[in-house]
Amino acid sequence: MKKKFFVLYACCIPVKGYTRSLVCDVQRGSFKLIPNELAHVLTQHHPCDVSAIKAQHPVEDHETLDEYFEFLTAHEYGFWTDHPERFPALDLTYQSASSITNAILDVDQYSNHNYESIFDQLEFLGCKDLQIRCYTEMNPEQLHQMLGQLNLRRIKSVELLLKYAEAYVSQYYQLPQQYGRLVSLVLHTSPKNQVIQSSQEGHCQIICLQQAIDDETHCGQISPLYFSLNLPTFSEAQHYNSCLHRKISVDKAGNIKNCPSMPKSFGHITEQSLLEVVQQEDFKQPWGITKDEVEVCRDCEFRYICTDCRGYTKGERKYGKPAKCSYDPYTGEWA
């Protein structure tokens, strides 16, 4: 006998947009676009008593409704049950033991960072993910000095951006073997675009990019390629800013900032500790800007999986849409 209720798996979460909607699968890391009428049914009438829903719709819509539920069942987005009360929604609260979870460190030829001290401080704050972006050529010795400081720390993943250098490139490729914390190595200003090692092939991806990434202004691109679909980021996006929450940055000149692209400095790394900065209310202010508050994005179906950017916004407004996003949720099209 057919069960009465259709229930979405708790990890498949509908998000309504202006013209269309998504079901975000935070377990398997994918999403499906669905029409707004279906999202309406799935949010307003969940758990879905399909015969009751049909009773509220004209007969000619019933076939469409049946197709919707078949589609969702076939893609394992939901299932049928007589006991919907046993299947609660996911709790989307966000908790982290770290006061800082992620950090950016920028480096150019004039930088004079004390890596050991910076890493010590990040470690103390509980930082897990670190991005090091080198805009100019680094010789292997400099890199070993920097990366050698990272072993045996709580920082668990490091993404490294380097400038391609013909003389050193083979040594660069060896870095992931020497430093287990490296999860991504990108060489900019390369002769050609090339994937040297994908993240499936090893613990660290190695990618060559033709583009010259010679300063922080290259950051802040919004693209489906960067969408992040997992439960921690999805729940974080409900309450906090997807890019800046619990982030701290040290720019190439040593200024402590939310992000290297933002003008406001909270002091120089040689004069202020990262902890002192993290304790300032001012510093944490952008952490709480959610996509639900940002112009345009608040109507976008991608708002909880999109990476956001507060460094470059439309009209440089605090709540402006990310300037480097070409998506228009009112038409449903990428420009």
Partner: protein, 337 residues
């Protein structure tokens, strides 16, 4: 100070420690391969005490406020009779066997002393007898699967006439390693061909009614509170007999779950009867709408429940150890919002 006994590679331990750090709580992590130096264990009419050396620090029983037995054992007395000694090899073996018994007895005693503190898990009770647990569950009115243990194929044949069967270890999971290959015992369905291969008698083995699952339940238990997760293993033939055979492309759907209150009460009694203040309970919800109990694992992989259900179990464990209130009511004093 909180003492954690665990293994080097256990990631869940690191996540709990992150919370202890956030709560500003001193801790010592003892991995099972860390050599523990027995400086002094003493007892008299005033009480018991110990001082154990670990790398370059000393852990005194009196300084320990909380203890978490995650897994492993205390690596004490890691000495055997010297190789070079001129004794009959058979005698050396016997003496080493005796030393091993001495070691286990001492480990058990130290484990007991640790567990007298505010403790989660118990190093001596971590080996529970699965068949006895089944007996306890049945006595408490919790449904169990029908089973038989036999060494005769004729008995298996007879049982197979009644219902489909699976076979699995009486004790549990085994992992073997040879020539760099890993071998393990999985839960297997029993069929006529298999019975023929076994001959008429074999090592006493467990045969259990094959349950017609709607979904499986993995329920983490932490001092009076249940954190249930449903696993939809039936959609995928690769995992429908044994959920441990993961399918990486399309992992089974796993979702938070609400247990019937009545069942929770019985499970609570079961945990008290064993007794365990933490563990992972495995159950099946059948096509006939029945909850069937399979086993309790004292050392549960709680991360696989915590993360997909967003239960924040790592935080809850740290709060238990530091005697804090349940989470959400008590923000860490170190984090900054």
């Amino acid at each position: 100070m909180i003492v954690i006994l665990t293994t080097e590679d256990d990631h869940s331990t690191c996540e709990v420690i992150d919370w202890l750090i956030a709560y500003n709580k001193p801790y010592v992590r003892i991995n099972e391969n860390d050599l523990v130096d027995v400086q002094l264990v003493s007892g008299n009419n005033q009480g018991f005490d110990f001082a154990l050396g670990l790398a370059n620090r000393v852990i005194r029983l009196s300084e320990i406020e909380g203890f978490w037995f995650r897994r492993g054992w205390l690596n004490v007395g890691a000495l055997n009779l010297s190789q070079g000694i001129d004794l009959n090899p058979g005698l050396v073996r016997q003496i080493n066997r005796h030393l091993q018994k001495e070691r286990v007895e001492l480990q058990g005693f130290l484990g007991h002393l640790l567990a007298t503190k505010h403790a989660l898990g118990h190093p001596v009770k971590d080996q529970i007898n699965k068949m006895i647990t089944l007996w306890q569950a049945q006595a408490l009115g919790i449904k169990i699967p029908a089973f038989s243990i036999t060494q005769h194929s004729s008995q298996v044949q007879a049982a197979l006439q009644v219902q489909p069967l699976i076979t699995k270890g009486i004790e549990g999971v085994a992992n073997f390693e040879a020539n760099d290959e890993m071998y393990g015992n999985y839960t297997e369905e029993v069929n006529q061909n298999a019975i023929k291969c076994w001959g008429s008698s074999f090592f006493p083995s467990l045969f259990q009614e094959k349950l017609d699952k709607m979904y499986e339940l993995r329920i983490f238990y932490l001092q009076g509170k249940f954190y249930p997760m449903a696993i939809f293993s039936q959609n995928d033939p690769q995992t429908s007999v044994d959920f441990r055979r993961y399918n990486n492309e399309r992992p089974n759907r796993v979702v938070p779950y609400v247990l019937p209150v009545e069942l929770e009460h019985r499970l609570e009694k079961l945990m008290q009867a064993i007794p365990l203040n933490t563990g992972s309970i495995d159950m099946v919800y059948t096509q006939d709408n029945e909850y069937v109990f399979l086993e309790v694992n004292p050392i549960g992989q709680f991360g696989m429940v915590s993360h997909p259900c967003n239960y924040h179990l790592e935080q809850a464990i740290a709060q238990f150890l530091t005697k804090k209130l349940p989470h959400n009511e008590n923000q860490p004093n170190f984090t900054t919002n």
